[in-house]
């Protein structure tokens, strides 16, 4: 919709400019004044007013479209899922990090996680987030939302994703 408004405003401005540049001034031979047109309900206007109206309408539309598109509208997204391990793990000892943006992430004691994100309208979570990393002293898990969308997403809506349980890679520390 905004693109259409941008298009109309650009066209209107161009037409207004063309009209102004190609205009011809007609002077009344009797009064030696600019020819005026008397429109009922509107009143008298000089002959180049329509061109000016075109130009100002175009500028107004462009300003309106610009104010609507900047800053871009953002939608709330909620991403949920869980981590699993054969070991008894205190999940809250780990760190959940999302790359590249700094979104709100939380890991619950049962291994479930939740990410709240505000994402630009028209973009998806997979467009914005390259990877999710959960690092725990005992192990870690990584999710690549775009690559693993088919295999990892259990349920999805327009603004949410629910992941299947993600196993963590347990590291065996040499002692």
């Amino acid at each position: 919709m905004l693109l259409i408004i941008y298009g109309i405003s650009t066209l209107t401005i161009i037409l207004g400019f063309i009209a102004l540049l190609t205009q011809k001034i007609y002077i009344d031979t009797d009064t030696k004044q600019l020819t005026q047109i008397d429109i009922p309900m509107v009143g008298k206007m000089k002959t180049n007013y329509p061109a000016l109206i075109f130009l100002f309408l175009g500028i107004f539309l462009a300003v309106y479209a610009f104010s609507r598109s900047f800053p871009p509208q953002k939608n709330e997204w909620v991403i949920t899922g869980s981590f699993e391990s054969g070991k008894n793990i205190n999940w809250q000892d780990g760190t959940l990090t999302v790359f590249p943006a700094d979104f709100e992430c939380e890991v619950f004691p049962n291994g479930r996680f939740e990410i709240e994100a505000k994402i630009e309208e028209g973009k998806t979570f997979e467009d914005v987030i390259q990877r999710i990393d959960y690092s725990h002293p005992l192990g870690s898990a990584q999710i690549c939302p775009k690559k693993q969308r088919e295999t990892l997403v259990k349920h999805e809506t327009e603004n949410s994703r629910e992941y299947k349980p993600v196993p963590i890679q347990v590291y065996k520390i040499d002692k």
Partner: protein, 100 residues
């Protein structure tokens, strides 16, 4: 016939088995983990290290040339090349890298 099937199966098993060796990248000078860094083996990105600099590499046995990208001074991206040996070890192998 059975022998042939057995030999084919065995050779396939020997050729294609990939081992998941675990590595931990540590800065030799500071002792800091090389966290969240992309790791490449033979120019292919195989994953990122976690917060503790750890990564699991699934490859067949042998020695491989690797490189890790890290942030140096003024947050400039730098690359450190090193070699790893996939041995099917279950222990976490610490790789000390001499970062600039």
């Amino acid at each position: 016939m059975r022998k042939i099937i057995f030999i084919v199966f065995l050779s396939l098993l020997l050729v294609s088995v990939a081992y998941a060796d675990q590595f931990q990248m540590v800065d030799k000078n500071t002792g800091a983990y090389i966290a969240y860094a992309p790791v490449y083996v033979s120019e292919s990105l195989i994953g990122h290290t976690d917060k503790y600099g750890r990564i699991t590499i699934n490859l067949t046995r042998g020695e491989y040339r690797c490189k890790v990208e890290y942030r140096g001074e003024h947050k400039r991206v730098k690359i450190k090349k090193f070699k790893i040996n996939i041995t099917d070890s279950i222990e976490l192998k610490v790789v000390y890298l001499d970062l600039d």
